[in-house]
């Protein structure tokens, strides 16, 4: 492997619209064949970032390199980038086959090769035989596949996905996530995906960048991102997380004791705190255990009394929303994965919550 330079490289890229900073000092690089997801709430600048890479917008400051070459002066039609748009942007006056052949014609592939390539990519997205269908004759999922085939048929260096799955219903969306993963692995194309759907990010990516307010919050592989969120925003954006505010009371290495009113809680941190600093603890719903008064855990550090405020049945699990008088903050969410529902807690029941010290993550407030 002689060529180890990254396929895409962003160096201090910023984009301002007037006084608004849409993207601020973004740095990342992506190696060949990897799938990167930029995850963030709407308006966080992720789409602007994608459009800059595609060449539809140019950065106010900073550099974008594709295959080691700066691309400021390269117009979109000269970049080797396939893009799948949020609304797919298929050409409604062409057939599925003509849509897939379009980039091949525009990029001057030898005409005799085009039918064969169209056939091949129709096969890859499992639409063999649909070549002559008009776009409006295809279902939503089939249109997705045509859009993906069109973006891939000319063998681009980079594939960009601008939330193309967001318009699909949940079942089809989850199916297409796996389908996309299959196609990506088969072709090995370097991919940048933009989404606000955390599940999609976790399922599809090798690496995830979480963005908020135009700034990268964290960049990590899906498992580390989920297990070790680097700040409060990431912790609350991914997974179902409950937050509790307090002040630092005692520090023992990476273990922190903080007080919420008169209650003391123990948690884990990677930040440096001083005594009396205000902090926020974050706990994932699946890390909290719920007990009754009879099974109250003894000798544990984080034990709280609460009352069931809401009981939400999600089929594969029960979600409890529990109000703890000791924490005058928002309620705490708890997943109960007991498939038989042996112990059901009803609205108004008194319960006891507990969790491990290492699962309560403490962040600066």
């Amino acid at each position: 492997m002689k060529n180890i330079s990254p396929v895409v490289e962003l160096i201090d890229v910023s984009k301002r619209f007037g006084k608004i900073t849409a993207v601020g000092n973004v740095n990342f690089s992506l190696s060949k064949g990897a799938v990167l997801t930029i995850l963030g709430p709407s308006g966080c600048g992720k789409t602007t970032l994608l459009r800059m890479i595609a060449g539809f917008e140019s950065p106010t400051t900073g550099k974008i390199r594709i295959n080691g070459k700066p691309v400021q002066a390269v117009p979109p039609y000269r970049r080797s980038i396939g893009m799948v748009f949020q609304n797919l942007a298929l050409f409604p006056h062409m057939t599925a086959g003509e849509n897939i052949a379009y980039p091949l014609k525009m990029r001057r592939f030898p005409p005799q090769d085009i039918p064969e390539l169209v056939e091949r990519y129709l096969g890859i997205v499992r639409l063999t035989g649909m070549e002559d269908r008009r776009i409006h004759q295809l279902s939503g999922g089939q249109q997705q596949r045509v859009a993906i085939a069109r973006a891939l048929s000319f063998n681009p260096d980079l594939l960009l996905l601008d939330e193309p799955l967001s318009a699909l219903d949940k079942k089809l969306r989850e199916e297409m996530q796996l389908e996309f993963r299959r196609i990506q692995q088969k072709i090995g194309v370097t991919t940048i995906n933009v989404t606000h759907d955390q599940r999609e990010a976790l399922v599809m990516s090798d690496e995830i960048i979480v963005m908020a307010d135009g700034v990268i919050q964290q960049s990590a592989d899906p498992v580390s991102l989920y297990r070790q969120p680097s700040n409060k925003f990431v912790a609350s954006f991914i997974g179902l997380t409950s937050l509790m505010k307090g002040t630092v009371d005692q520090i023992e290495g990476t273990t922190v004791k903080f007080n919420v009113n008169t209650t003391s809680l123990w948690g884990q941190t990677s930040s440096k705190f001083h005594i009396g600093e205000s902090v926020e603890g974050a706990i994932r719903a699946e890390q909290v255990r719920v007990h009754t008064e009879q099974t109250r855990p003894v000798g544990m550090d984080n034990v709280l009394d609460g009352v069931v405020e809401e009981q939400i049945f999600e089929g594969d699990r029960m979600v409890y929303q529990i109000r703890c008088p000791a924490l005058d903050s928002a309620p705490i969410f708890v997943f109960d994965h007991d498939p038989a529902h042996n112990v059901l807690h009803r609205r108004g029941d008194r319960v006891v919550l507990s969790w491990n010290i290492r699962d309560l993550l403490v962040y600066p407030d």
Partner: protein, 327 residues
């Protein structure tokens, strides 16, 4: 259960307290009650047809007029008493097609209509495109207002405006004269009529093209670009085909409006560049030959209809958005 019923209430029960409702609600409720007496619920499926009646009546009146004109056209003028003869004949049509004058007028009208349609679309497309795509709201507003201003002036006044600019003693000739050139004959000729008509038709062209261009998603153009097409190719392969409904609609409107135009050839042509409408006017009011005028009218109606039929049979009425699935 009774508690639940109390909460929802029936319209009858709540009518007792209707005095508490805002005046606008009560007026609308009363109007609905009156409407229900006049047009009972059982007739609801026919409401659409009821609303169609006034428009159909208007069209029907037009058809009656057309039938009468068709009738006139079949009677020759009696030069002894300047009345139409009782007997039927095709003399008027024969005159219209064989007379060199009318043949010239016919061909001139058709040729001018094609020319004006092509020139106008050429000018209107970039205007409409920019108006739709401009990023700044100010630019869009400016383009839209400049488009609408001429509408408030009217065709006759605009034609006179051209006379002021292009006339023998007009603005342009004054400027030319200032530089020592002899005045040019800029009006009462064919190009002047075409210029006036193009200027008159431009807003129609833009307004009919704009919705078609709006319907093309910006992302579709960007997609084409990212797939390797320079904007020229994007325009030819994507924008033009997708703007077809607007192109067909505006061509039909501009062509038929030009074909039947009277004021521009009358004022800017000054009798040198008569269109069919001018000949019809002369037939009815100058020659007092309503038979010939009617025959020319029938020819004009037939020509216009034929054009529209040909365009729609080529492009398909689907391009007007009548049939679904055009998107």
């Amino acid at each position: 259960m009774s508690g639940f019923n109390d909460r929802v209430g029936t319209p009858l029960a709540s009518a007792k307290q209707s005095s508490q409702f805002p005046v606008r609600w009560r007026i609308l409720d009363a109007a609905e009650r009156i409407a229900a007496l006049i047009w009972p619920r059982s007739l609801y499926p026919y409401t659409g047809y009821l609303l169609l009646v006034p428009a159909l009546l208007l069209v029907f009146v037009l058809v009656i007029g057309l039938v009468y004109i068709g009738g006139y056209s079949l009677h020759e003028l009696d030069l002894s008493n300047y009345r139409l003869k009782e007997s039927f004949s095709l003399t008027n049509y024969y005159t219209a097609f064989t007379s060199a004058t009318y043949r010239t007028v016919l061909l001139r009208s058709i040729y001018a209509s094609l020319l004006v349609t092509v020139i106008t679309i050429f000018l209107a497309f970039p205007y409409a495109y920019l108006m739709v795509r401009a990023r700044r709201a100010m630019t869009r507003k400016f383009l839209l207002i400049s488009l609408f201003l001429p509408f408030f002036i009217g065709q006759i006044v605009r034609a006179y405006g051209w006379l002021i600019i292009l006339g023998k003693e007009g603005l342009l000739n004054n400027i030319i004269g200032f530089f020592g050139f002899s005045p040019l004959k800029l009006i009462y000729n064919y190009p002047a009529v075409i210029l006036g008509l193009v200027q008159y038709m431009l807003p129609f062209g833009v307004l009919l093209l704009a919705p078609a261009i709006t319907a093309i998603s910006r992302d579709v153009e960007l997609a084409s670009e990212s797939l390797g097409a320079h904007w020229c190719r994007t325009f030819i392969h994507i924008v033009l085909p997708l703007a077809k409904p607007g192109l067909v609609g505006s061509s039909v409107v501009i062509f038929t409006l030009t074909l039947t135009d009277f004021a521009m050839p009358e004022i800017l042509g000054g009798g040198t560049t008569d269109f069919i409408a001018n000949s019809i006017y002369d037939g009815f009011f100058q020659l007092s030959n309503s038979g010939l005028g009617a025959a020319l009218s029938m020819i004009l109606v037939t020509l216009g209809t034929a054009f529209v039929v040909v365009i729609f049979s080529i492009a398909g009425t689907g391009t007007l958005g009548f049939s679904k699935g055009a998107e």
